[in-house]
Amino acid sequence: MSAQVLSVRTCFAVYFVLIALTAATVGAAFLDLLYFSTPVALGIACAKALLVMLYFMELRHSQRLVWVFVGNGVFWLTVMIALTMSDIISRGWLGFPGK
């Protein structure tokens, strides 16, 4: 697979979407969304991260092996946070002495 030339138009288009999403996340932070503030902020952050990875980092045109590597990174990060939190949150559920 040969290197694709990064298009200037695409770069600018992605840039303006990223700026718009930054404005959106700042705006959303001032709204009272109850329990949804953090999910909305993280959702926008994930969208921005995907745009940066797919376009600026050219993941779109990368070999599939790179996708497997990136997927692994995300998977283990999820494992680290999810398993840590499953322990922290559930610690108080059962009344073992000395928990």
Binding site: V14, Y15, I19, F56, M57, L77, T84, I88
Partner: protein, 215 residues
């Protein structure tokens, strides 16, 4: 084209594409170790924010959202100029390559300048954890945890920016000497991957640190 690419291909590779793919794979692998490196701090953040939501909410309000948002825009713009640098190398435009790399360095330095001002401000407001820490909101003890994480996470991020600026400075000098062209620009591309990664980390740091207690 094969004859032209040959001088740039190390003997262990079949062709330029294979060489480039090996570099990209290695760089991504390094970036994944970086994800896990920052991941430890993000996990710590999640644990303590879950434990002390009120302290984190109040402490986050002390951060300057305008400067945080400004820095986000500055860093995204530096990612744009970095992407344009790769484009310039791909289409053989040496002048544009040098200018774009210099712009990326300029935006990166601006980011660090704003960050330094924020640190200086926090120092003056006694918000640096330690003996002189003063916090008037609820739960000052645990608010210190937020500021510890704030300094650790943004500090580690800033350290990555400083390394990145060093890389870009070397690249700029080499680009000016004409060491990169459309057949060989792997160092520009790999440094670009690193720079965009630093941007990615900030994309998550900004909402988690600055935007949490706004409403």
């Amino acid at each position: 084209m094969l004859e032209l690419t040959a001088p740039y291909v190390a003997h262990q590779f079949d062709d330029a594409d294979q060489q480039r793919e090996a570099s990209a794979l290695g760089m991504w692998l390094f970036l994944i170790t970086e994800i896990m490196f920052f991941g430890g701090l993000f996990t710590t953040y999640v644990v303590y924010r879950t434990a002390f939501p009120a302290a984190f909410h109040a402490a986050s309000k002390e951060l300057d959202i305008t400067l945080g948002a400004l820095n986000t825009v500055v860093l995204i713009t530096s990612s744009l100029t970095m992407a344009l640098s790769v484009h310039a190398a791909q289409v053989n435009r040496r002048g544009m390559l040098v200018v774009c790399l210099l712009l990326t360095i300029a935006f990166g330095t601006t980011f660090l300048g704003v960050k330094a001002y924020e640190y200086w401000h926090k120092w003056h407001e006694h918000l640096v954890p330690g003996a002189s820490f003063v916090f008037h909101g609820p739960d000052p003890t645990n608010a210190q945890l937020f500021f510890s994480l704030y300094f650790a996470m943004t500090g580690l991020h800033a350290l990555h920016m400083i390394v990145g600026i060093g890389l870009l400075a070397v690249l700029t000098a080499r680009s000016a000497q004409g060491m990169f062209n459309r057949f060989y620009y792997t160092p520009v591309e790999m440094s670009g991957l690193y720079w965009h990664f630093v941007d990615l980390v900030w994309i998550f740091l900004f909402p988690l640190l600055y935007l949490l207690g706004r409403h």
